[in-house]
Symmetry: C2
Amino acid sequence: MKFELTILGSSSALPTAERFATAHVLNVHERFYLIDCAEGTQMQLRRFRIPMGRIHHIFISHFHGDHYYGLFGLLSSLNLMGRKVPLHIYGPAELETLLKQMTPQGESYLFPLVFHTHRYDTLSLLLDTGSLKVYSFPLDHKIPTVGFLFRESSRELNIRKEKIPEFNLGIKDILRIKTGEDYVTSDGTKIPNRELTLPPIAPRSYAFCSDTRYNPDYVRFIQDVTLLYHEATYGHLHIERAKATRHTTAREAAMIARDARAGQLVIGHFSARYKSLDPLLDEAREIFPSTIAASDGRTISVPSVKVKDH
Amino acid sequence: MKFELTILGSSSALPTAERFATAHVLNVHERFYLIDCAEGTQMQLRRFRIPMGRIHHIFISHFHGDHYYGLFGLLSSLNLMGRKVPLHIYGPAELETLLKQMTPQGESYLFPLVFHTHRYDTLSLLLDTGSLKVYSFPLDHKIPTVGFLFRESSRELNIRKEKIPEFNLGIKDILRIKTGEDYVTSDGTKIPNRELTLPPIAPRSYAFCSDTRYNPDYVRFIQDVTLLYHEATYGHLHIERAKATRHTTAREAAMIARDARAGQLVIGHFSARYKSLDPLLDEAREIFPSTIAASDGRTISVPSVKVKDH
């Protein structure tokens, strides 16, 4: 069961020869979730062989061009490719207005476009597929901006295989036990559920925090996240510039990861001024060793972790 | 003196792995003119090492997304790069409205943006730099669309070098002779201008015709053009589709080139359905042999042609 992030663009507002501006794809069990959609996102999707037609939900963090300028071309291409199934976009209200004006040929899209307008005050459940929940939560940027949290739903208990012959369990028994029930044998003996089952696989999660000024307030929304992407537009040398533009330094991103007890940190949204990212990685790893740098096309898999016992 | 076209995107509305949608750059004596601006144009400008800061005029043919979706990102990048000098955009009125809504960070551009709204009824002079004139003229598409004609201005006559010592010509004499005047020697003898000069270098021209249905009406605007770019979205096999979508087949593009007595024809704006362009090139060359196919990054130089004598 895949839970895999692909970075499509790792630059901040100004793209470079190697880095496009922000877009991410999260692959959860071969369902693809697009997060932000900078100019050229559709080209990167082709380049990295991600099936566009299997994207049904697009999440836009805020109304700055380097996070949405690629949306119009992507929608146009989906239209030309004959898409019929609905597409859901979660974004700022201004974007909905623009989308109505910028249909590709001045006509309507052939597929239903369902727009969900952000709220900015608290944690909000945007989507629940049964196996995955997606939330937005407020960040701290120049304009209203949200981060996103993708979290696998807690799965059912796993039956201990050796218990099936031992108690001669039928399929109905097994289904009940997997929901947490105890089992009562034909002679009336009650077998506690925890003797019959193993805990579910630990749910995995991914949080996207960009763009934002460093602010401990949003750490509560991403506690214990498995994989954290946090913007690190600047090195700590440029902290004053980070404050003025409402961005975060690499060191501060690591502080967020540490305080959230994240499993792994990916930093990105790099200012075009940095030829080498080593200083940014170094300062982050001093605080949070499990830090890597985003690059266009880089894929980060989050493996399933089997829990050994209750 | 350069007169050189670079193709940045050669696909029709749907980009492919090899072809972006429409954008061209014409380099006239190291001044760069951008024609259409599909998504990813700023990336292609970087890739093909064309200096963005030296673009001062952008020409948008019509209000279909595959001809302007890259404009917002390009303007945003120019802004971030600290542009101060004015930028002129020639385009449809709807685009001006959009540009006002889509400033990169919700703020104004730091440079003056001068918008010139198209008229669609006749040949219109858009720009005269002294050495170059740019015109728009009506094409025949689903929505109002213009083509563009770039024409070097007729240059002054060239003095025959051997005549300078022969008649002991001063700088003022030379300047007058170059404007076409005859010369009168100190003893009153009149020397006809054509004995003193060579004709100017033949002015070069470039015409951009996309998107359009084949229509002989606009041939009059591009008579004797040196280099003609004409859309050829389809092969003639798909003529019915071309008619329905107001596009042109490769064979029809060649008929326009032949009837305009063009020097060379470049076909482009290819439908993504064609894996090989050979059939399109073949059918065009049957009618107009000097035909080539556009590809992303291809540069076509138009050499100066020295006229030997009057």
